[in-house]
Every structure is written in C-alpha cells, then in structure tokens.
Symmetry: C2
Subunit: 97 residues, 2 copies
DNA sequence: ACAAAGGTTATCAAATATGATAACATATCC
DNA sequence: GGATATGTTATCATATTTGATAACCTTTGT
C-alpha cells in the first residue's frame, strides 16, 4: 500500500508560496541577523564569553544570549547594540545603502 | 563698579569638566545622530516629505519628526529603522568597526 | 564522576519605544 | 488674508524591549 503522497501542482505552488514568504521574511530580517552574527563573531574573535560581555555592560549572560540568538526576532534598540559594541571595544556603524 | 566675575581655576575646571561630560555624552550618541542625519538627508535627496514616509510606513508624520529629531535621545529599535530605510527604497546597513 | 564554565530558554517585572492624537509654528501659495 | 503644506512638540495609551531571575543543557577540565 502506497502511503507516499503524490506531488501535485497545487502542492508545488503552496510550497513555492511558502518559500517566497519565508524568503521575503528572511530578507526583511537581514539587518537583524547580520548584526547578530557580527557581534558573535567579534566576541569569539576577541576570546570573550557572553558572561564577560554581560559584566562589561552590566547585565546578565542570559540577556546576552537572547540578544545574540538567531532563534528570536526581538528588535534590539540602538542603545543595546551600542553598549555591546562598546563592550567589544568597538563602535557601531550604521548607515543606508 | 566692576560686575564682571574674575575667572578662577575652580571655574575653569568646572567648565572643562562639563565640556568633557558633554563631549563624552555626545560621542556615546554618535551612531544615533549619524543614522538620523542620514535618514533626513536621504529623504530630502529623494524629495519626500515626512508625511510621505509616514504613509509608506503606516504611521504619522509626527512620529517621523520625533524619529528624525536631534532634540531627543529616544533609541529607535531596528524594526523602526528598517521600516524607514525601506520607505526610502534603501536598506539599513549595520555593522561593527 | 563531578564540578565548573559557557550557553539556552522561559517567565514576569520594569523600562522604554512606538502608536495615536491634538495643538502649535513656520513657510508657501493664491 | 486665508488656506494649505510641512514640520514640531506634547500627551497619554499601547506595544515592545530590557532587566532580573531561575532552571536547564552542553562542554570542558580534573
């Protein structure tokens, strides 16, 4: 007995639509993910832990984990990002293109 | 009768201290002011009004005025900045240096 | 095996940013 | 002068982010 569903055009279109929405959503969030990845990369490059960053900023490592995580889409404000950058001994660079 | 106060070292130090704090504060807010100035410049360059940006985003011109203003230090979150950038037909570029 | 280090997730309180609205000010146009 | 366009400021409600804490998980070191 075959239990495998046969692909149909409707299925294909639905999947394509979902992919399009997913892509659109992902594109919309690119700046967020970009800065998160940069923060994590810089922290690791400098051999710092989340806890050390947290201490420099005056917060908790769990809050740093939340900030760094790609598993949520909280939108950090500039103060938060600026503080993290400063804790890295760096500056936040923000512009338009 | 002389009514002019004579400068003293204490006065000088106090003024220098204030300037130092002001400068420090200003430096800390540089990224904020930088992106504000860029948003305004881009909007004007594209010949758009605050109201037009507001309509594209789905907010009010007064909120755009507040966002653009150098007279306050509200720290916009990334979503807000991303929306403005998109209304300009541009992308927000954020990184570390 | 156990402890410590490093990180993740959830929850709720507190703080802050944005939404919504109105009044006001200035500049421009007819 | 009056109407319109553009921008500013204030106020309060609402939404969102951050603060604070705890429990949990994984990795590392001894």
């Amino acid at each position: 007995m075959q239990t495998t569903k046969r692909p149909t055009f409707a299925n294909f279109k639905k999947k394509a639509l979902q992919n399009e929405e997913v892509r659109k959503e992902y594109n919309a969030l690119k700046p967020l993910f970009a800065i998160k990845k940069q923060l994590v990369a810089a922290r690791i490059a400098k051999g710092l832990t989340q806890d050390e960053i947290a201490k420099k900023i005056g917060t908790s490592k769990s809050n740093i984990s939340r900030l760094e995580s790609l598993n949520n889409t909280y939108m950090p404000n500039l103060a938060t990002l600026m503080k993290y950058a400063e804790a890295l001994g760096m500056r936040l660079d923000i512009g338009l293109r």
